[in-house]
């Protein structure tokens, strides 16, 4: 699903965020990406989302060589990826339903069909009863679950999560991770960047560890 081949990323010609990264993630895998802040987790995710291009090497996602992707194709490529952000990035001027429906609106999905899919996604994260609420009325944990619902409403083949539990207490963090595992169990490839090592250790998935821009370990699930 994802393949990095000798990928390097420099910013401003000097700072080396990533150096010679090599790994493959198969379809249907669930992988944690860990490391200290500044180790390059975000840079790596940004490369996968094609927000940036590598300075060196090749990034392949779902059969696309991202370097060969024309700028006009990038939006269509991104629609195949669901992204959960640390700060969930909900739009506060519209209700939960509209937030979750956003990816479908962008793709011009028929309203009736979209409504059905939005409700299914909200049901999955346990927030169906709050569809008319505004994001501000929800707790942080609930907001993050809305973020997840928005990421999966489109049934993406790949789900990326960037520190999805960054602001949550341990119990809520576990809930969120379990939710991501649920999506993995129905075939979605899931990649989670997190520095919550204790939580990661308990969940038993493959762990990619970055340190100073290099891949320092790649441990299969125990």
């Amino acid at each position: 699903m994802i393949a990095f081949e000798h990928v390097g990323k420099r910013y401003g010609g000097r700072f080396e965020a990533l150096a010679d990264i090599n790994f493959r993630i198969e379809r249907g895998e669930m992988v944690f990406l860990t490391g200290h802040s500044g180790a390059g987790k975000s840079s790596l995710l940004r490369l996968i989302m094609r927000l940036e291009r590598p300075s060196r090497g090749r990034v392949m996602v779902a059969g696309h060589d991202l370097d060969g992707l024309h700028i006009s194709q990038v939006p269509y490529y991104r629609r195949q990826i669901g992204v959960v952000f640390q700060d969930h990035q909900l739009l506060f001027d519209r209700d939960i339903f509209a937030n979750v429906a956003l990816p479908l609106t962008i793709q011009g999905v028929e309203p009736a069909d979209a409504a059905r899919r939005v409700r299914a996604a909200l049901d999955k994260v346990g927030l169906l009863h709050r569809e008319r609420a505004l994001p501000i009325e929800l707790s942080t944990g609930e907001q993050q679950r809305v973020g997840i619902a928005r990421a999966v409403v489109n049934k993406p083949a790949l789900l990326l999560a960037d520190e999805p539990t960054g602001n949550l207490d341990p119990q809520l963090s576990t809930d969120i991770m379990r939710l991501l595992e649920d999506f993995n169990s129905i075939g979605t490839t899931v990649m989670v960047a997190s520095h919550d090592l204790a939580l990661i250790a308990r969940l038993r998935h493959r762990v990619l560890k970055l340190g100073q821009g290099r891949l320092i370990s790649d441990e299969e699930a125990a």
Binding site: L51, P75, Y76, Q80, Q89, I106, G108, E110, D113
Partner: protein, 336 residues
């Protein structure tokens, strides 16, 4: 009730099946909705951007007012020029030539000559003024009946008033020279200097109007551009998010283009209202002034066609202003 619901559920089921088929190759899903989805989206954005304007009525109205003011000056000037008929290339009745025949041309011959002149190239119309009619006109305009009635012979020749096809001074000049060559013609009169001056004035007026229109059109672009820049800034987060989840550039840009068009349309409508009110306000003094000169003059107003043109033009300007501003400012917004 039940009977009605049944087929609907069936239809929806079928729809789901086709959408699942389309979804099997995910890359192609952008074409799933097709033109209908595109139209629906346009309709939604159109009403949504209008709603956003209405939600902040004062600032929207101020923007529209600024646009209206920029439109009123060139539109008003155009109206004045149009009413003075300076915009017409043909200065109709004002540009006529008078062809005087030799004194020995009698009435029957004058009629023949007039017909001949009417057949000349470049002549649109002719009107024969016989010697007797000429004398009557002269008496009337001078109020000298008594003095002239003393004359036992009419001293005036017959004449023909010629309306040329082409009223540009050069063409009129040429025509006058060719008419002079005709037999029986004594003299051709025209007030070319006056015609010349009027046409230069018209050309000047047209240029001033055009220049103002360009200048103030640019003003409209700037007003809309600045408003849209602020709108882009205030929706920065939304733009970042939708870009991250796969919105195309066109999708992101669309609401701003629509709001620009709304601003333009609103500004144009406001300009029409202000022009109409201003016309009303000036109507009475203008009529009084005209009457004191014994003339009848009513202030012109934009007709239906020109009103529609103004609205169309201002809408396009608003759209264009938004287009320029969005292009400049969206480039600054890169998702974090």
């Amino acid at each position: 009730m039940n009977a009605r619901r049944q087929p609907e559920a069936g239809r929806r089921g079928a729809q789901r099946a086709t959408s699942r088929q389309g979804g099997s190759q995910r890359g192609g899903s952008q074409h799933g909705g097709g033109g209908r989805a595109w139209l629906r989206h346009h309709r939604e954005i159109m009403t949504d951007s209008a709603r956003r304007l209405i939600r902040r009525p004062v600032s929207s109205l101020l923007t529209m007012l600024a646009i209206a003011i920029a439109l009123i000056l060139p539109a008003g000037l155009w109206l004045v020029l149009d009413s003075a008929r300076l915009l017409d290339d043909r200065l109709d009745d004002s540009a006529t030539l008078t062809v005087y025949f030799d004194a020995d041309v009698d009435e029957t011959r004058a009629m023949g000559l007039a017909t001949n002149i009417g057949d000349q190239a470049g002549v649109a119309a002719t009107r024969l003024v016989t010697a007797a009619e000429g004398l009557a006109d002269f008496q009337q305009s001078l109020g000298v009946d008594d003095a002239l009635s003393e004359l036992d012979q009419n001293p005036l020749p017959a004449s023909v008033v010629v309306t040329p096809d082409d009223t540009t001074p050069a063409a009129v000049q040429t025509l006058s020279q060719s008419l002079k060559q005709l037999p029986g013609v004594d003299e051709v009169r025209l007030d070319l200097a006056w015609l010349d001056r009027l046409q230069q004035l018209a050309a000047l007026g047209q240029r001033v109007t055009l220049g103002l229109a360009l200048l103030f059109g640019l003003g409209v672009l700037l007003v809309v551009g600045n408003t849209v820049r602020l709108a882009v800034e205030s929706r920065r987060q939304e733009i970042e998010v939708v870009t991250l989840i796969g919105a195309t550039y066109a999708f992101v840009r669309r609401p701003f283009l629509y709001s620009g068009a709304w601003y333009g349309l609103g500004g144009g409508a406001l300009a029409l209202v202000i022009l109409a009110l201003g016309g009303n306000w000036l109507a009475a003094p203008v009529a009084a002034l005209a009457q004191s000169y014994g003339a009848e003059f009513t202030l012109p107003s934009l007709g239906l066609t020109h009103s529609a043109f103004l609205l169309f033009f201002s809408t396009i300007l608003g759209w264009l202003g938004a287009w320029i501003a969005v292009g400049r400012h969206l480039a600054d917004i890169k998702p974090r």
